[in-house]
Subunit: 284 residues, 2 copies
């Protein structure tokens, strides 16, 4: 491996576990501050949580929704540029053509909007006595796969409940992603049961790094997030994890290690394409 | 639900964590004894571990290989019939047409051979300083999906390393399986890292029960098995797990509970078939 390739095989990832209040301006300024803090620690890719500018709840989405570009994405673009980072902008309620989406905008280190991922799978859970949440009450689903390039590796983007669908991760991996990022906000029922397990599963099945950014836990909110933002290695180990408070966690992504894991257990080359396949049917 | 349907929605599963020695006759008689023990405890489906009649190792396979029908499968057929159980006969090295396979024979409660699953994905691992194992040194892979019917539910069969490939479980689930069984024998490196995680991942991603049967640990063997035979619920919880010794673990499979989980988090109906699909390309 030459020197440049070696330099490009490692980079620092930051996952921001943001506290989200009802005051949008506060949410934005704290996000801005923590992106800067992360960059100061050497992060080249920074991930914010789902619904970082608005409380999470179908009744809040119409009120906090913005067009893209708009106030929140303008701020994210500037934060990406000022800190020269790839910024996975969690998600915001997006308004477009009279519909609302749960949308993750991604910015390059020059401030350009690289893509926006509209949550493909809307939350639809009803666990009696525990939690009921139906995003479709106010949101519409997206229909696009979302992959962006960095000088380090390709990155696939999903939002929260998207993580439950193995196919999305499989298609991103087929397209060459070595890192999958999921801004999210699991709750106090599904969080302890599935948040870490799903990340580990996606990581081991696809031999990729997986990062999931949650909002900080706020017991006074109508929707209480589990927290525990994490980064998982291609071997399935949690290499970095937050508790429940607002914080930034870091992980040094090592693509040579990923390559070693893929060589040690070569499932990617052993898949039986003569027997089965996972394919993208169409793209929006 | 009528009375019959209710009765059929629950059944006891037994997973036999067999000690395997170099003496085939001993392995067979212990297997026979433990199948009987399991049936005595009310098990209707019994699962043996991978390579239950032979030490696990490419050098042993040619020596212990049998045709089907042969000595080992004859004994399994009788054990299934005598105890009136569905018997997932772990696996044996099978000889057919000059080739060797790692084959799981499944018998119905009347002793009929319902199917044989030849391991589709052959182990190919090389973790420096830890373990190297290449089944292809002596084995050939199978090319069939393997699903059998019971009065309770459909059951999908994979062997050990097959568990690493999410697609197999996805296709079995699409075909209506509610229980996946994996006779296996992970080792002391991949066992602690991935054995339980893979089972939980398959269970949660597909909302099915997953059972994995390992051989007991034998520190004197050339290949030391991890043990920890397990049954995992559709919610991703380990509901039954062995330690390292020879034993039988039981789980009461509850298909109404499975149905409840699928209703609470309806990912099966939420899959975006307009965007992606997992399909069987051909069947052997």
């Amino acid at each position: 491996m030459d020197t440049l390739a070696k330099a490009m095989s490692k980079f620092r990832l930051a996952v921001v576990q943001l506290h989200v209040s009802k005051v949008k301006a506060d949410n934005l300024s704290r996000a801005q501050k923590l992106v800067k803090e992360a960059a100061g620690q050497g992060a080249k890719v920074v991930v914010l949580p789902e619904c970082f500018n608005s409380p999470y709840g179908t009744s809040f989405f119409p009120e906090y929704a913005e067009r893209i570009p708009g106030e929140s994405t303008q701020l994210l673009s500037e934060a990406a540029k000022e800190n020269a980072v790839y910024l996975v902008g969690g998600s915001i309620p997006e308004e477009d053509g009279g519909k609302l989406y749960n949308t993750c905008p991604v910015f390059g280190p020059d401030g350009t909007l690289l893509l926006k991922h509209r949550k493909i799978h809307l939350v639809d859970i009803d666990i009696p006595g525990k939690i009921r949440f139906q995003e479709a009450e106010t949101l519409s689903p997206g229909s696009s796969f979302s992959v962006f390039d960095t000088p380090f590796c390709k990155v696939g983007v999903g939002i929260c409940y998207d993580m439950r669908f193995a196919e999305l991760a499989q298609i991103y991996t087929k397209r060459g992603c070595q890192l999958l990022v999921y801004p999210g906000a699991f709750n106090m029922t599904t969080g302890p049961a599935h948040w870490e397990l799903l990340q580990k599963g996606r990581a081991v099945d696809n031999q990729v790094y997986v990062a999931a950014a949650s909002t900080a836990r706020d017991e006074t909110a109508s929707y209480v997030a589990w927290g525990h933002s994490s980064v998982v290695s291609p071997w399935g180990e949690v290499i970095s994890q937050a508790g429940t408070e607002e914080t930034v966690v870091y992980a040094d992504i090592d693509l040579q290690y990923l390559s070693d894991v893929r060589q040690q257990i070569p499932i990617s080359s052993q898949r039986r394409s003569d027997l089965y396949s996972v394919t993208a049917v169409q793209e929006g």
